[in-house]
Amino acid sequence: MNVLEVSDLKKHYPIHAGLLRREVGRVRAVDGVSFHIAQGETLALVGESGCGKTTVSRCILRALAPTSGSIRFDPGQGETVDLATLPKRALRPLRRHLQMIFQDPYSSLNPRMMVGDIIAEPLRVNGVPAAERHARVLELLDLVQMPAVARTRFPHAFSGGQRQRIGIARALALNPRLVVADEPVSALDVSVQAQIINLLLDLQDRLKLSMLFVAHDLSVVRHVSDRVAVMYVGRIVEVAPTDALYRTPRHPYTETLLAAVPAPDPMRRGRQMKASGDVADPAKPPPGCAFHPRCPYAQDRCRVERPELTEVAPGRWASCHRAQEIELAGVA
């Protein structure tokens, strides 16, 4: 059963110029993205800055209104809704099922509220009686491995890692159907990052969380996600189960990304660098396959014809004309 099914999602921004502010072009930040998240599954959305991964997550949360496409969401009451077209009013009662974990644990907690109140806020807003709220806050603090006394203290008393735990407790307060986590560990120190990664793994096991994990760090993603979708210039270029994607990538961009990550092992030093050039501009993406100017395998066809995301093996999708003929290197 799928908690979320996104199909052909687009978010375009018009570019205006001239005296009459006529539309002269469009930034195709997200340009036809489709994926699903099954119940209890963590899907990672990865890619470099400007690839559109955060725009996708913001469309799902309806912090942005999509240009077109559908976002079918199952709030767990037997009927799915399309978040893409729902009016704001109708979204309200759904928000409790759709929660977010933020990147920056310093700006995402109100410094004037006690931790207990921060965690209880979503409960209060949704009409949970005070007595129940108290018990639930204690339960949540325990869940994120924080002492009960944290309840009566303010966020400034806590380190970045502890604040991130508080943010996670708040996101989980209402037992959401789907958690969207946008770079939840990238602002943390290594030793603290490891604690939060382990916590997320625990919570996935214990609560069967469904999660969209937006991240740029491919190492972190390998630890926490069940499947990975790789984005490049507004489109998904590859989707696969995590281990398969890392071991045997099927899109040249995935191969490039994996090869670029410096492994914490001096024996693996000096791997061949394949990517040249910069990430393409989503305002004027190259014709054909957007990756072709940087792709070591590009042929004439890649320069004119845009490849579609197709199933190249059971459960594995790639948008590359040559996916079946080229042999790509992964990281074992």
Partner: protein, 332 residues
Amino acid sequence: MVERTSLAVRDLAVHFEMEQGTVRALEGVSFDLHAGRTLGIVGESGCGKSVTARSILRIVDRPGRIVGGQALLDPGTAEEADLIAMDPESRRMRGIRGGRIGLIFQEPMTALSVHYTVGNQIIEAVRAHNDLSKAAARDRAIELLREVGIPRPELRIDAYPFQLSGGLRQRVGIAMALAGDPDIVIADEPTTALDVTTQAQVLDLLRRLQREKNIALMLITHDMGVIAEMCDEVAVMYLGRVVEYAPVADLFTTSRHPYTRALLRAVPSILATPRQRLATIGGAVPHPGARPSGCAFHPRCSDFMPGRCDAASPAPLRPGEAGASCFLEAQP
């Protein structure tokens, strides 16, 4: 392999006088930089890695104050000069800053002004350290931009920083650092703000420039992958001290300080198995103002020996000698 020692840092100590008391940001840091070699400085936030760089360049912001130690340029030669003894505003120090020692920042936008073209700024840096005419300095600036791999430098020289991508901006930042033809370069998290494919390109560039110019490179990073990829020797810092110093291969295979071992185990790996948990270090890095007694790592250390580690500090490392500042090591 004996190379010329370009810079010898000895017992460097920096205090920050705060209202709450004295924060000892650096407590006796010593290391050497050698021509043609890369020293990695790694540690979590608050360990003092950036303060070390700023102290050498004499740009520690108030209320920070260097309270002791030396930074000897060309140690053991007739030209030996102690940067710490110099007036930071003196003509000589200004000549060294950017002349002998180049600095590469994490976010090149902090080093570049938004109001001037890239060319203006590099030309200014070139002329600050070389007696050149405007036209000759412009030619030199174009040559520098070409050296750092900027395509069509004769056009890009008239671009403003905001017109360049993050990767190109960091290349400009590197060109700026090289404008005075330094033989020592300090790079403070030079790729942290960059995407992974761009990071690979910039690391490659740094390696190439170092080789060509026989630069002594001090590379500050929190990323063990970057350390493994780039460094010859590594100094691991924790709360203002070097706790371990080792050749890079030894650091990853036979690290000697419990903190280094714990840190390496906590790093997420691109080679992880699905849902692999990480070993964690309990707690968080304490605030430097609340430094624990004895060995500052003892409250988080798995090998903590009561009555010993919390009672006295282990002896600091002798510069250039591999080892750990830990009671588990044979103490001199």
